[in-house]
Symmetry: C2
Subunit: 131 residues, 2 copies
DNA sequence: CATGCAGTACGATAGAAGTCGTACTACATA
DNA sequence: TATGTAGTACGACTTCTATCGTACTGCATG
């Protein structure tokens, strides 16, 4: 049984220099529930968000705008909150922006392999190519 | 990239002796969608069903009654159908009974590691221990 | 043929979740 | 202070999902 990240795949793990803003309310590692995490990831838009964070993020967190999602702001708030409350992402307030990153260490510790599936995911065919 | 079961963990894989009843309608392997599978597994009752099939099933399929779930029959039909339509389980009609098993090979091929997470899942605390 | 059995189909209901407009807060800066 | 910006809060609406009662099908068997 793996203990923490020894066998985990190599997603970027963000450093936490201790002078960061406090994270917003989120479940602790031992409060993560598989059913909640899977529920949060069962939505294509949220899968897109997490996958993009895993594959394209730099060594810092990203604000909502970075994702380039074509949805009203209030919809995005809804989905980012769902991800954070399920424990998939962590959010911090940086002045105006609320930035997110994936809780890679925590998720690999509790659900090893899960993030690999998300990274390997491909979005559904965008739409029926018109008639 | 693994082709089929080479690196997959050792859940029981049911033999298919070719004189079995036809499976009920289900998505093909290449139609399996991560978001649908995760959605099907984001429910504690369905997680219970799949986990029990993974850990306790014999070399044959199991009818609904085998699970010992304390829910009305029509609720069980609903959940078994959800699992089958997401591609998590396969169901066959054996005379009176409709028996299920997990599509271990298919799921390991498409989403390696996912079933390990289900097998390692523990159900939520049953209920607030009385007042 | 009557009964029992395994399970489905249908339909009603209730709650959860997604979508989004509008109004709002908080900060930066000209 | 006025404007722009990033995002939240609230509320309305709609869609989806879970739950479950009732009625039904199909088979076995006395």
């Amino acid at each position: 049984m793996p203990t923490t990240t020894a066998d985990a795949p190599a997603f970027k793990v963000l450093p936490e220099p201790s002078d960061l803003p406090e994270p917003l309310a989120e479940p602790a590692v031992d409060e993560l529930r598989l059913e909640n995490v899977l529920g949060a990831l069962s939505d294509p838009l949220r899968l897109t968000i997490v996958r993009k964070l895993l594959l394209e993020s730099e060594d810092f967190d990203h604000s909502c705008g970075w994702f380039g999602l074509d949805r009203p702001k209030s919809s995005l708030t809804h989905h980012f909150k769902a991800l954070r409350e399920a424990g998939v992402t962590r959010q911090r307030q940086y002045g105006l922006e609320r930035r997110s990153h994936v809780r890679v260490d925590d998720l690999n510790a509790r659900f090893p392999g899960l993030l690999d599936l998300v990274a390997a995911w491909t979005p559904p065919a965008p739409r029926a190519p018109q008639a």
